[in-house]
Structures are given as C-alpha cells and as structure tokens.
C-alpha cells in the first residue's frame, strides 16, 4: 500500500515536473544517420547542447524548452512522417528541421499547411525561394558559394575550368547553381566529371581532367569524404592548377583527411566559423563564432563544422524571436523571425525581410586557403 502511494506520488511529481518544464516545444527532424549524417549529426548535437544551456539559464522568459529530435536517415518520406508527428502528435510550437534540400522540401508544405514557423538547414536556393510564409533558412545558398568562388577565380584571371562534382544532392545542386551564374564571370567549363557519393578513388576522373589542355583551375562541388579523396588523388597525379572546393567541406577534419600536404593551396568559400580565432578583434562576428566553436569542441570533442553553426543560428534566431514575441504564439513568432535584423550568427549577419527569409549576403562568406595545414583568409 505504501509502495503504491509512493509510486503515485512519484508519478504525480514527474507529470507536474514535465508540465512545469516543457512549456515551449521545439521539434526537429534531421538526417542524423545515413548519407547526410555529416550535416544532421553536428546539427543535432548543437541543438541539444544549446537548448540545455538556455534551460540552465532559465529558459525563454522563464519558460523551459523541450526539444524533440527525430532522425529521418536522409529519406524525405521519413522526414515527412516525423514532421507530421511533431506537428500533430507532439504539437510543437516551432520547427528547426531539414538537413538536406530533399528532406526540407518534404517538410515545408506541412509547416505551411499547419502554420508552424520553420527554420531549415538546407543548402539549395529552392529551400527559401520562392518565399513561403512560414519557412526560413539559415545556411548560405550554394549559389552564393559559387559566386564567391567565381569572384576569386576572376581575380586570378582564371577563365577556363574543369568541374568534378559529387553525384549526390549536395554536389549536384551546387554544380547546377554554379552553371547558372558562371556566364556572368566569363568563365568557361572545358570538361566535367562526377563521382558517386561513396567512391574511394577518383584518379580515373582526374586523369581525364589532367589530359584536357587549357584547364586553369578545377572546381569540386561536394561534401563528405569525396572532396578529401579528390584532393589526395589530385596531388598523387601531380595536377598543378588551383583546386577549389565548395563550402560542403568546411571543417578542420577535411585538412586531416585530405592530408595537409595534398590540401596545400586548396581554396574554398566558408563561413567565418572556421577561422574564428584568426578574425580581427574588431570583427563583430568574432565573439559569436569563437564562443560557438569553443563550446562545440569542448562538449563533443570533435572539430567544429559550418553545419552545426547553421543549427546554432536557427535556434538563436528562433529564441530571440520568441523572446520578442513574449511566448510561443506561432503567428507572432513567425512575424518576429521575419523582423530579425542585425543578428550576428556563425553564418554572418542576418537581416530578414518579408521577401527574403534568408537574410544573408555574400559578405557572410570568406574565401579561405589552406596553408601549412591550416585555414587562412584570402584578401
């Protein structure tokens, strides 16, 4: 009898505790496993880390956040199912969801239909354009990465290039976006190759590029281990024109995987996060990126990547908006997100507008070069 009473008391305590704490529910669907786990994994870790941190500091206006994260494994069908579950079952107040473009495109219509604010972490431009009422996005688009690269090429008088792209969503999307603006910079593509997402040898493709006369630089849109192997094979074959990667490899581990010797001189556009300590103290972004980098690396023991940063930015924009809205009212929060101005995140300064739910400009990107096994900023 006593046991029963104790149990009831404990249960009651538990229930009241959950009620007291979970006053704001944030739902997240990320590709924590599967081919895009390099995106979803750091995103999940970042969200969990900072939600705990915010709750420890008293939450949002005194209300604690309950974070629910589901893993879609990179399958858009799963993403849709879990997003439905978050909206209808868990009744979340806002969504921070979608690691890849494909999964994000599966989630957006649900958020629109249910009227739930959504901040996504997809790369491609279609994840934010055309503008949808409830949908926002934090990562730079791949189009911006392309423009940054082509600007740099133009400065170095490079006009004829070859492309080797990953045949995955990330590589393919960036390659396509690059082709839409390449004409503006007067650059011509002499040769194109692709590799499959899990390929572990690209010498065949690179041999063909090497054999193409007139190529002044090679561009490799891709993510994961692919670009690291491209870089190694590039060095092995002794190709000596500049090599550019996309922003998909922007993490310290890339240099290790590619080996510092092979990565020497490789350039890529990336957010300031990678070079946090190297930013001048006057840079208004320095504090946020240094803090995030330190926190992430201390908590996870793994090198920071830009992708976790997107999740950080999304969470902070949402939290700020909720603070301003004085609660989790969906419509009010949505309006406040849209009013985000001068927010310094890991991706740069965010200035949202009703017709721009991304709010980043090209200045958010830095052109980096790898020298002596470390990132340096190209001026």
């Amino acid at each position: 009898m006593r046991v029963l009473r104790l149990a009831t008391a404990a249960a009651a305590l538990l229930i009241s505790a959950t009620f007291a704490q979970a006053q704001i529910k944030i739902g997240s669907v990320l590709s924590v496993t599967g081919p895009a786990s390099f995106l979803g994994d750091p995103e999940k870790k970042t969200l969990e880390m900072y939600v705990a941190d915010i709750n420890a500091k008293g939450g949002i206006n005194g209300k604690k956040i309950e974070l629910i994260v589901y893993d879609d494994g990179g399958d858009p069908n799963n993403a849709r199912t879990f997003a439905t579950r978050l909206i209808e079952q868990d009744k979340v107040d806002a969504l921070l969801a979608g690691s890849t473009t494909a999964t994000t495109m599966a989630i957006i219509p649900l958020a629109e239909e249910a009227g739930v604010p959504l901040i996504n972490f997809a790369g491609a431009v279609q994840a934010v354009s055309p503008v949808k009422k409830w949908n926002f996005k934090t990562p730079h688009t791949d189009l911006m990465a392309c423009e940054k690269i082509f600007e740099d090429m133009k400065k170095r008088n490079i006009t004829k290039i070859a492309i080797i792209a990953g045949a995955d969503a990330f590589g393919k999307s960036m390659r396509d976006q690059c082709m839409t603006v390449i004409g503006k910079y007067g650059i011509e593509v002499l040769h194109e190759e692709t590799y499959q997402p899990r390929d572990n040898d690209m010498t065949a493709q690179l041999t063909n590029i090497k054999g193409k006369p007139g190529v002044q630089a090679v561009l490799n849109p891709g993510f994961g281990q692919g670009p690291a192997i491209v870089t190694r094979n590039y060095k092995q074959l002794g190709i000596n024109v500049p090599l550019y990667h996309g922003h998909g490899v922007a993490s310290k581990s890339f240099i290790e995987l590619a080996t510092p010797a092979a990565a020497e001189g490789v350039r890529l556009p990336a957010a300031a996060l990678l070079v946090a300590e190297k930013l001048p103290d006057s840079d208004p972004q320095k504090k946020v990126v240094v803090d995030y980098k330190k926190t992430y690396e201390a908590k996870t023991g793994q090198p920071v990547s830009g992708f976790g940063g997107h999740a950080y930015d999304g969470l902070m924009i949402l939290v700020e908006a909720m603070k301003r809205a004085g609660g989790a009212d969906k419509a009010k929060v949505r309006d406040e997100i849209e009013k985000t101005k001068g927010f310094w995140g890991t991706g740069g300064v965010v200035n949202m507008k009703p017709d721009d739910h991304l709010g980043l400009d090209l200045s958010a990107f830095k052109m980096l070069e790898i020298k002596n096994g470390d990132w340096t900023i190209v001026n």
Binding site: T33, D201, A204, N208, T259
Partner: protein, 290 residues
C-alpha cells in the same frame, strides 16, 4: 598509354578491396550456406578500431592487431548468438539476420565511435611512384600485396592444414564431414572468424587510401556480393578475380565511358556474364538429381 596505366592501377587497388570482401562472403557461404551481409562491417571495424585505438595512444601496429581481434570477436559473437540459434532456418531468413546484424553493428559503431570520416597515415610514405607516366601510391602496392598474401595464405590453409581440409570438407558436404568426425559447428564458427579477420585486414590496409566511417560497410557488402557472384559463389579464386574485375570495370568505365554511369557499367557487364554463364565465371553448374 599513361591514362590506361592509371586506370589500371586505380582499378586494381579498388578491386583488391572488393576481392577481400568477396573472399569473406565465399568463406562463410561455403561453410554455412549463409550470405553474410554484415561482411562490410568487418572492413569498417578494421579501419575504425585501428583509428580510435591509435588516437587513444596505442602504437599503430598494435592498434591494427587490436582491430583484427575485435573483428574476430564480433565475427564469433555473430555466429554464436545470431547464426547458430537460427540453425535450420531458410537461407533468406539467415540473410535477414545478417542484415539485422549489419544495422546493429553500424548503430554500435555510430555510438561507440562517431559518425565522421577518419584516416590514418599510410604505412610506406605518401610520395607516389611514377610508372610509365602514371602514378601509384606505395599504399596501393601494399593493399595489392596484402590481398595477394591473404589469398596465398588462404590457399595454404585450405590445402595444407588439417583444419583447412576440414573446412573444405564441411563446404563440400556437411553431413559427410560430420560423419567423419569433423566438428562442423566449430568449423563454421572458424569460418566466421577467418572471414572477419580478412575483412578487418582489408579495412586496415585501405583506410589510408579510402578513409573510413561507421557506415562504409553497406556499399562494400553490395559490391563484394556482386563480385562474389560474378566469380561464382563458393569459389575463392573466383571471388578474387570477380573483385578485381568489378574494380577494373569501375575505373575503366569512369575513365573511358562515363563517370556518372560507372557503377551501371559494372552491373551491365555482370548481367551479361551471368546471361552466358549462369553460375558465374568459375562456378560449377549443379546438376539436380531427380
């Protein structure tokens, strides 16, 4: 000509990995009629355990040894707790069990290790050698040599030792082997252990070239399975040849035809071969007794 050589080197290196996976498939299949779709996970364990042990301060050779021991232990556990209890179940039931094991092992690796890519330094320097205008990495030569040594060692084991002969006998006819006093259960367990060791060694050798992560196993299992079937299931020599052919097809396909469809080229050739040789290149037609 330099292109041709380059494609050849690249194809042989990749092919050697497929060959080792295919060899692992073949060993287990011969002993137990099980197609072990967790074979790729042994390769993953080889690379991942070595990396994390080395990162924890264990000297690389010792780390590699540890990785082999871990893989062999996992192979034995797999046999003891997943295959052995399902004795007598149909072939597809056993396949689903190995698929389950593969999901489980990947899950464990993601939790115990992490989900990032890893690599460790090659064993013999990073400066590529120039051969006829093409380049080859010392590590590629090590991979090929290693694969060759494993194949020869397997051959010696099978034909010269008593245990090897017991394995061959078990493969040929389990019942007859039992009747001659061979402990077929132990032999099947042994085949899992040897398979796991081969996979792990493969993983250790190739990781400096191909990198590794918790989920490299799936695709390797897929390609290794295709290679084993191309060679003729149950035929160790066929498995090795099948692996090398798949690797060469991919690299020549990517080099001369289309990098977007290089996997397709490999599979089209496999389909064509099976069309004319329904038991693979070296497999024997099994006549049904009626």
């Amino acid at each position: 000509m330099p292109e041709f050589l380059q494609f050849l080197f690249s194809g042989l290196t990749i092919g050697a990995i497929y060959a080792l996976v295919a060899l692992g498939f073949t060993l287990i299949y011969n002993a137990s009629d099980v197609i072990n779709f967790a074979q790729g996970e042994f390769v993953m364990l080889g690379g991942m355990v070595t990396f994390f042990a080395a990162a924890a301060g264990v000297p690389l050779p010792l780390a590699a040894l540890l990785a082999i021991v871990v893989a062999v232990a996992v192979g034995l556990l797999l046999h003891r707790f997943a295959i052995e209890p399902a004795r007598g179940a149909s072939a597809v039931t056993l396949i689903i069990i190995t698929i389950g094991a593969s999901i489980l092992l990947r899950g464990v690796a993601a939790v115990v290790f992490d989900k990032n890519f890893h690599s460790f330094p090659p064993f013999a320097g990073t400066t590529p050698w120039n051969v006829g205008g093409a380049t080859i990495l010392p590590q590629s030569v090590i991979v090929l040599l290693g694969a060759g040594i494993i194949v020869v060692a397997m051959w010696a084991l099978m034909s010269m030792t008593l245990i090897g002969k017991a394995m061959v006998a078990t493969a040929a006819n389990k019942l007859a082997a039992q009747l001659t006093g061979i402990n077929t259960r132990a032999i099947i367990g042994l085949s899992f252990a040897v398979s796991a060791a081969i996979g792990a060694i493969g993983g250790i050798l190739v990781t400096p070239i191909t990198l590794t992560s918790y989920d490299v196993g799936t695709l390797l299992a897929l390609k290794g399975f295709a290679a084993a079937m191309l060679g003729g299931m149950g035929h160790p020599f066929g498995a090795v040849v099948g692996g090398l052919i798949v690797g060469l097809l991919e690299s020549f396909g990517a080099g001369y035809i289309s990098s977007a469809y290089k996997d397709a080229i490999a599979f089209i050739v496999i389909l064509a071969v099976l069309f004319f040789m329904p038991n693979g290149l070296f497999g024997k037609a099994s006549a049904e007794r009626v």
